[in-house]
Structures are given as C-alpha cells and as structure tokens.
Amino acid sequence: MKAPAQAARAEPRAYRWTMPANWWTRNRHYFLYTVREFTALPMALWLLWLLYDIKSAGAGAANFQPPRSAAFIAFSAVCFLFATYHSYTFLKLAGVIMHVKVLDKTVPPRAIIITMFGLWALATVVIGAVLIGFAR
C-alpha cells in the first residue's frame, strides 16, 4: 500500500480548464472565424426557401408565388453579402488547403488562389447567363 504522500504524488489534483462561453470575443481571429461560420446558417435557410420555391414552380405557374415582401428582399440581400464573404474567405484559403504539383513542381499558393477566384468569376457568369437565358 502506498504512503499517503506517494498516493498524492501519483494522482495530482489538477485544476480543470473550461472554455469560457465568450471565447470567440477574446481575439479578432476567433471573432472573424465565428462570423465566417455563422454566415452559413442564414444561407442554409435561404436555400431551403429556394428549394420550396422550386417545388412550387414544378407544380405549375399558377402555384408559383415567389416572396416579394421588403423583408424577404432585405433578407436575400443580407444572404448575398454573407455568401460573398463566405466564398471570399474560403477561396482565399485555397492556397493553404491545396498542395498541387505540375510537372513535379509545386504550384505557388498565389497561383492557386488566382485560379480559384477566376473559376468563381467564370461560374458566376455562366450561371447568370443560363438564368437570364431561361428567363427570356
């Protein structure tokens, strides 16, 4: 049997750290990270609404009644800003995430970021053209 002093040494009573609820306000990076993650939530709600609209449109033009209220337009504008911010922060990190090699040489992160933003712009133009084309 261990002596009390030895037993105490074997199992030191440590103070357990707990994360404070306001951790994300304590540092600028934490705050920006939380904003980045939060932007996904309103975007998800907006997309759910879009899915509902698409389903309504599938049942015939008579059933399609897209929301036209000022509140919904304001919500959509906020979602657009959030989507832009989320995409910008994601694409800006692409150079960190992707480790691409071409002809046995590592592609510089800057080139990856420029390519990703270029593809983003291209996708925006193509989707915009398709939507405008269908609207006509």
């Binding site: 030191p12 440590a14 934490y30 995430i97």
Partner: protein
C-alpha cells in the same frame, strides 16, 4: 532617479490549498531592455517568491518548455520581451486548454499521448542493412516536409485552438503537423499506420480551420496548412482509384 519597474501578474495555484487559480502581482526591476517574461519569472523566483512554479530550459526558443499565456496570447516566455508591454502590467498565465498542476505548470500528458499516437518517426517496411548506404534525398524532397519538422512541441498551437479547448479528444495541430512531416518524407513508409489516427473523426476532420494555431507558432510552422492538406489527401486517397499509396 527611481528604478524602472514592471508589474508581473502571475497565476498561482496550489492544488493542496486552492480551489481555483488566482493572480498574484509582483513589482520587479525592469533594468534591461532585453529582459523577457522568463527573466522576470526567474527574478521573482530568485528574489521575491521561491515557490513560484513554471517550466523552462533553454532560454532561446528551442526547447519549447516555457510556453505560457502572456497577456492572453500563447507565447514562449523566453521570446516575449517586457519592453513590448511596459509600462502596462504583464499577466502571465498557464497555457489555456490544459489542466493546471501548479502555478504556471500544465499537465501535458494528453499531448504526449497524442504525439505518440501518430508515430512521429520514420517507419520502414523493411530496414535495409547499414551497408546498403544512406537513404538519399534531393533538396526538393526535403523542402516537401522541412517546414513541418521545425515543430518544437511547445503546445502553443493547442492552447490557441478553440476546437481543442471545446473537445480535447481532438488530435490537435502539432500532432497532425508532425504526422504530415513524416508522411511527406520520401524515406518514410508509415502512412497506412498513421491514417487510422489522423483520418479519424477526432483527427483532421474535427478541425474547422480557425487558423490560430499557425498564427501563434513561434517557429513559423503552419499546422493549419498541414491539417487542411491532409484532409484533401485523405479524401483523394479514399475516392480516387489511383489515390492509394503506402
């Protein structure tokens, strides 16, 4: 002329007496612009209060022993200059996210266990005899992993990581960075042994890319990069027919 002084507020915690850590203030002479936080702690221990406990060793940012929260930011106390804080007080606390054993000393058992779990050493399927010569590498092959080999296991990245703070089952930044260091090493053949740990739900997939681990690293290692690249690599490995490699 009055001697220039600086106030150091250090965490005190005696597990036999205290129920929670508290801050204690010490006014010490600030005699040299080259003084760092560790010098201040050493002064307190030598001249004011010998019971103050903290870890340190090399005093030159190499051993990784003296990591502490300096005014709320994880830093090596041997590299945090007092002149950057004076005349305001400097608050020195143990690294966040770890149990506190005494004063500024944290329990690093969890980190040591996680570090060992990724087997951060070169694994060979079959060792060649010494007579077969060296495992030669090109400069480009060394450049692949060199950055990640600079890690000194100081645990500042764990202290800065809110994901680890909220869920200490997370493997964590340094362990994953070191796993990647060996996975990228042309001499290593241990990827499949490390994958079950790093590609686990508590491995790279627990990370939500806060990125603060890379900000606080005193050696310029980019653990966030290692984690995100490992996510991409493991995804390609499991989804592409040519993704598998040992």
């Amino acid at each position: 002329m009055a001697e220039k002084t600086i106030t150091i507020k250090a965490t005190r915690f005696d597990p036999d007496k205290d129920s929670a850590p508290r801050l204690q203030s010490y006014d010490i002479p600030f005699t040299d612009e080259a003084m760092v936080v560790l010098d201040a702690l050493n002064y307190i221990k030598a001249h004011v209060d010998g019971s103050l406990s903290y870890r340190w060793s090399c005093r030159m940012g190499i051993c990784g022993s003296c990591g502490m929260m300096v005014n709320g930011t994880p830093k090596l106390s041997c590299s945090a200059f007092l002149r950057d804080y004076w005349p305001k007080p400097v608050t020195v606390q143990p690294l966040n996210n770890f149990p506190i054993i005494r004063d500024l000393v944290i329990d690093m058992e969890d980190f040591m266990h996680k570090l060992k779990s990724v087997q951060p050493w070169i694994i060979r399927k079959q060792e060649l005899p010494l007579g077969a010569g060296e495992h030669r590498q090109t400069t480009a092959q060394i450049d692949e992993f060199k950055q990640f080999s600079q890690c000194i296991n100081c645990m500042l990245c764990y202290s800065a990581c809110p994901v680890y703070g909220l869920n200490n089952e997370f493997l964590g930044p340094a362990a994953i960075a070191l796993a990647r260091r060996y996975n990228l090493d042309s001499r290593d053949q241990g990827l499949t042994k490390r994958l079950p740990v790093i590609a686990d739900s508590e491995g790279v997939w627990e990370c939500s890319f806060v990125g603060e681990c890379s900000v606080v690293c005193p050696k310029g290692v980019d653990p966030a990069k290692a984690i995100q690249q490992t996510k991409l690599d493991t995804t390609l490995r499991f989804t592409l027919p040519f993704g598998n490699r040992d």
